[in-house]
């Protein structure tokens, strides 16, 4: 099963081949090249796959794999495919395109997808921006007991337990990768900034100064 494995479209072998275990394929022999090979792997993954993992399987430099992934994603878009390739939650994966959600939901879920209540959304927002956070603290922000809502979010896989508060021992919660996916985010850093919604410093100062108005 050995063969010349000096892969790499750009001529740089990922490893210096000599005396090493060889791969049973040459990426260039494939009619669709590295791009099609990447597509094939994407068909079998059940979680976002990193560029590094793909690069290792294909014996290609990570940069090449990243470039192919970007190109594939663009290709799917320009061809108006029903699916797309997105980097979400830290890795690449094939998703249905959101325009076709009604059809997919009809097919997969037999109808509409349950939507979150306003209370659940608010609780989710507090957890997303303040994680890891205890239920009590979320309740403090929302001004109401959130136990039931947190249970709902747990059951929906949007939040998960994320350790314990050292002092109080209270369970802390954080968001899941599924949350990132449902938000169309690659990482928590991409959450819309909260700052614009918070009052500016001068408003707060004004408040403080107005004490004896």
């Amino acid at each position: 099963m050995t063969q010349a494995g000096t892969a790499g479209g750009d001529g740089t072998p990922p490893s210096d081949g000599a005396g090493e275990e060889q791969v049973a394929f040459d990426i260039n022999d494939f009619p669709g090249g590295a791009r099609a090979a990447i597509e094939a792997v994407l068909m079998v993954v059940d979680e976002p796959v990193t560029e590094a993992a793909l690069a290792s399987a294909l014996e290609l430099p990570t940069e090449d794999v990243a470039a192919e992934l970007e190109a594939l994603a663009e290709e799917y878009t320009s061809q108006h495919r029903g699916f797309m390739l997105r980097r979400l939650a830290g890795g690449w994966r094939v998703y249905t395109r959101s325009e076709y959600a009604p059809v997919v939901e009809k097919f997969l879920l037999g109808g509409q997808q349950a939507r979150l209540t306003q209370a659940a959304l608010e609780t989710l927002a507090v957890i997303a921006y303040r994680q890891p956070i205890s239920r009590a603290r979320v309740g403090a922000v929302r001004g109401v007991n959130v136990d039931g809502v947190v249970r709902t979010l747990l059951a929906r896989g949007l939040v998960q337990e994320a350790g314990q508060d050292e002092e109080s021992g209270a369970v802390l919660y954080g968001t899941t990768d599924y949350f990132l996916q449902r938000m169309g985010l690659d990482s928590l850093d991409e959450l819309p900034p909260l700052a614009p919604y918070l009052p500016s410093d001068d408003v707060l100062e004004e408040l403080a100064a107005e004490g004896h108005a």
Binding site: R115, N145, M183, A208
Partner: protein
């Protein structure tokens, strides 16, 4: 102990994600022939209600002229209490705290005092700023939640390919590392099967400090035994923070529920007198007092006092 009420349910709220800045002014909206109702499915907390009232009167959140809002808020609480006697205590206490702060604010504006360095004044300013800060924070999260809801309804409305490997590849799945001894499995199973204790609600979140309702209950009981008739004011005369006052008040409510004391109040908003009716010594279930509030404290053994 009543399970916490479903504070918000109903698909009718889904549209709130569509930028409807929810004016729960409708909350205290009087329906034909019906008393005021607590529509817990329409709003879900004092901040929600307060924002609704503020929006209704087109006041800026930072506007201090809240007298009218205060009146409506207090009216709402009163009717809510009448409408639902089993109001969740933790929720009710949150409402009461907001109401108390608002009333303090209103009172301070009605009284022509200019006591610059009065401690009460300072505390008042602190309370007001705390309330506003929390209100503003809540508003920010509410708005960003709307944005998250929109993302969920658009760019997030996608489905990953999660098909699993074809049969021809299934033998290639990486070897599963179990690393679990049968005893561990038993422990995991046992843990999963034990009914989860009902979640507790702490009051430590109301302020930074940590005051134990249980401890305050012990203190209140000791004092009442010494002086069986006592005003609430006296009971909290030495309290060094609002939180201690709240904790003692909650402790009194719990003791009231235990049937060991009675309240007397001659007129609305008048002084509150407390009459001790419990045994002169011995436990009064005080070990459980506060278990509902004192998050993180080791839960005392023994069922919740009704026995």
């Amino acid at each position: 102990m009543a399970a916490p009420p479903e504070v918000s349910a109903g698909p009718d709220l889904a549209e709130a994600g569509a930028g409807d800045a929810a004016v729960p002014g409708g909350v205290i909206h009087r329906r034909e022939g019906q008393p005021f109702e607590v529509h817990l499915d329409v709003f879900s907390g004092p901040f929600e209600l307060l924002l609704g009232l503020i929006a209704k009167h087109k006041l800026d959140v930072t506007e201090i002229a809240l007298a009218k809002v205060t009146d409506e808020f207090v009216a709402h609480i009163r009717t809510a209490q009448q409408a639902a006697r089993d109001w969740d205590l933790s929720e009710a206490s949150e409402f009461l705290l907001v109401a108390a702060t608002l009333l303090d604010l209103k009172a301070s504006r009605l009284l022509p005092t200019q006591r610059e360095d009065d401690e009460e004044d300072l505390a008042l300013i602190e309370a007001r700023d705390l309330l506003f800060a929390r209100l503003l924070q809540y508003r920010a999260f509410k708005q960003v939640a709307t944005e998250l809801g929109e993302r969920m309804a658009t760019v997030g409305r996608i489905f990953p390919r999660d098909v699993g490997v074809e049969d021809r590849f299934s033998r290639l799945l990486p070897e599963l590392v179990m690393g679990v001894a049968p005893e561990q499995l038993a422990a995991v199973a046992a843990q999963a099967m034990v009914p989860k204790p009902p979640p507790t609600v702490g009051i430590e979140h109301l302020h930074a400090g940590h005051v134990s309702v249980r401890e305050q209950a012990g203190l209140v009981v000791a004092r009442l035994r010494r002086q069986p008739r006592c005003s609430f004011r006296d009971l909290v005369a030495d309290a060094d923070s609002t939180l201690v006052i709240v904790a003692r008040f909650l402790a009194l409510l719990e003791l009231f529920r235990e049937g060991v004391l009675a309240f007397a109040q001659d007129e609305a908003l008048g002084g509150l007198d407390v009459h001790w009716e419990g045994p002169a010594e011995g436990a009064v279930g005080a070990t459980e007092i506060g278990s509902e509030f004192d998050e993180g404290d080791p839960a005392p053994a023994g069922p919740g006092g009704e026995t």
